[in-house]
């Protein structure tokens, strides 16, 4: 017997309902929400004040003008805030699902576990980081010379690739929880640490770190190269400039690999509940 389409929601419809419920729940306490969003905005803006102060003192960051650095900074923060909004379920997965054993209940539902965890919460708080990132990004485009009109296409594409990459990190982090049960803070190195590393030009880092954020975590592909392409800035490391138009694809490839890893991990899941 096949379920009739009028009574069963599609995957997207279901997600929309879960997201709607989550938004209503968060707006129940408007005061808390506003304070947290403002806190988020101020914290992230202050971290740009740190970079700006370095410019004030040294004139440039290793030969990069402030416009370029602002574009990098804005790009990585906007991408991360989108992933933070969507992926809250994966972030709390270890503590709230694996340790308590309530992941068993998700497995009983006739839907993809990924969809159900995405619907855990559509988090509104990162809007502070998002707005701040957009603000710095626009300011950077304003200040930087040689901005290409193609930036309007490449930058959203890079944000999508970056969000996919960070979401992939969160999914990989959740898949690790099947082994470690509790969440591991070390993974913050890839999320918050990734944001920290992504806001500086790639050439500032030593070779081992450059390789890591290019080939292991494709941070350079979703942030550095698209920014160079948008600003028509030649790459000091010698790669052709058009590569930035295609490189954000690597973020989606990374997400795909993490989804495969997740599916394997779920197949081997043994409940810790009673």
């Amino acid at each position: 017997m096949s379920p009739s389409p009028t009574r069963t929601l599609g995957a997207f419809g279901l997600y929309r309902r879960m997201a709607g419920a989550s938004i209503i729940a968060q707006l129940r306490y408007p005061g808390t929400f506003i304070i947290q969003a403002i806190g988020n905005f101020v914290t992230t803006l202050l971290s740009f004040f740190g970079i700006w102060s370095l410019f004030q003192r040294f004139g440039s960051i290793a030969g990069w003008d402030i416009g370029t650095v602002a574009v990098l900074y804005g790009l990585v923060n906007v991408a991360f805030s989108v992933a933070e909004t969507l992926g809250r379920g994966f972030e709390v997965f270890g503590g709230e699902y694996v340790r308590t054993g309530s992941f068993d209940r998700l497995l009983l539902r006739p839907r993809s576990t990924l969809l159900l965890l995405l619907g855990h919460e559509l988090r509104l708080r990162p809007i502070g980081r998002f707005l701040q990132g957009v603000f710095v990004l626009v300011a950077g485009l304003w200040l930087a010379p040689h901005v290409q009109w193609t930036a309007t296409l490449v930058l959203p594409w890079a944000v999508a690739g970056g969000a996919a990459m960070f979401l992939g990190v969160l999914i990989g982090q959740a898949a690790l929880c099947f082994i470690t049960v509790e969440g591991l803070e070390v993974v913050n190195v890839l999320t918050y640490g990734g944001v920290e590393a992504g806001q500086y030009p790639l050439t500032m880092f030593g070779r081992w770190l450059r390789r890591f954020i290019t080939f292991v975590l494709p941070l350079a592909a979703v942030c550095y190269y698209p920014a160079l392409f948008s600003l028509h800035h030649p790459d000091p490391l010698g790669l052709p400039i058009w590569i930035g138009a295609f490189s954000p694809l690597a973020g989606f490839v990374f997400l795909g690999i993490m989804v495969l890893a997740w599916n394997r991990a779920v197949a081997g899941y043994v409940s810790s509940g009673s």
Partner: protein
């Protein structure tokens, strides 16, 4: 003995801090990562602008960053978690009923919590960033020794004052929590303030010159910035005496005002729960 209850409160929180050994190692990895990213950024900024007379040399900026990273958990990022829980559940009445001075009772618990978290991490990171980095041939990136014997002794005194100052600021967050019945507000306010104003984000001496006197005079500078300056032997306007004087001033001012605020808060405290 009259001080015994406060030592008990201290001992309890100290043991909680030492409990999570894996968390210490995880924190170490994260701090190494953030330290490495920051150090590489500073190195390339300094090398690109060799003519700029910065208030800190590159080696000093690196040492500053290592010490700051290792003392991250000493910062007053929010209220004591136990008090946050007590405020929410109403268990705070038990604290009110105790025949002890509540300020000292909470202060000893807060201080122990900060030290129990910070001391093991600081010792570990100092070993890795100091002698171990030297042995691995990374001498230029390592933690520099103190400027001299006198500087070392004064820095030790200063960091002791800094720990008390930090615990006193945590007390303010505790009172805020008791007042608003939720620990979230204290974290939303405390974390950005502490990260920016203590020099965690960027060493306070590297900010633009016009803002530096204000940054030195505010209370958060007394936690880690002043001890590190004494350790490095970088000049403080007015000498070491100003540094220690500022710390003592803020310690007494915040204690007096905080006690007043606490008395007022306790008098009108409404406890929820049965």
């Amino acid at each position: 003995m009259i001080l015994r209850p406060y030592f008990t409160a201290f001992g309890l929180q100290w043991k909680i801090g030492l409990r999570y050994r894996i968390a210490v190692v995880a924190g170490l990895v994260a701090q190494m990562w953030f330290g490495a990213v920051t150090l590489m950024a500073y190195a390339s900024v300094y090398h690109a602008a060799p003519d700029v007379q910065a208030p800190l040399s590159l080696r000093q900026a690196m040492t500053y960053t290592w010490i700051q990273q290792s003392l991250f958990t000493l910062l007053p990022l929010g209220c004591l978690p136990a008090i946050g829980d007590a405020a929410r559940t109403g268990a705070i009445v038990y604290d009110l009923l105790r025949p002890v001075d509540m300020w000292n009772w909470w202060l000893s618990a807060s201080l122990a919590r900060l030290l129990g978290n910070a001391v093991p991490r600081a010792v570990l990171l100092a070993c890795v960033a100091g002698p171990l980095a030297m042995l691995m041939g990374l001498g230029a990136w390592s933690l520099a020794p103190p400027a001299g014997l006198a500087a070392a002794i004064l820095a030790l005194m200063s960091i002791t004052l800094g720990a008390f100052l930090s615990a006193t600021i945590v007390m303010w967050w505790n009172i805020l929590t008791a007042r608003t019945l939720s620990p979230l507000g204290s974290y939303a306010v405390g974390t950005p303030l502490a990260v920016l104003l203590s020099g965690m984000l960027l060493p306070l001496p590297l900010y633009p010159d016009w803002i530096r006197p204000f940054l030195l005079a505010q209370p958060f500078a007394g936690i880690t910035d002043i001890p590190i300056r004494i350790y490095l032997g970088t000049p403080i306007p007015g000498g070491v005496v100003t540094g220690l004087g500022l710390q003592i001033f803020w310690l007494s001012a915040l204690t007096l005002l905080g006690r007043l605020w606490m008395r007022q808060t306790v008098n009108r405290l409404e406890v929820q729960g049965a």
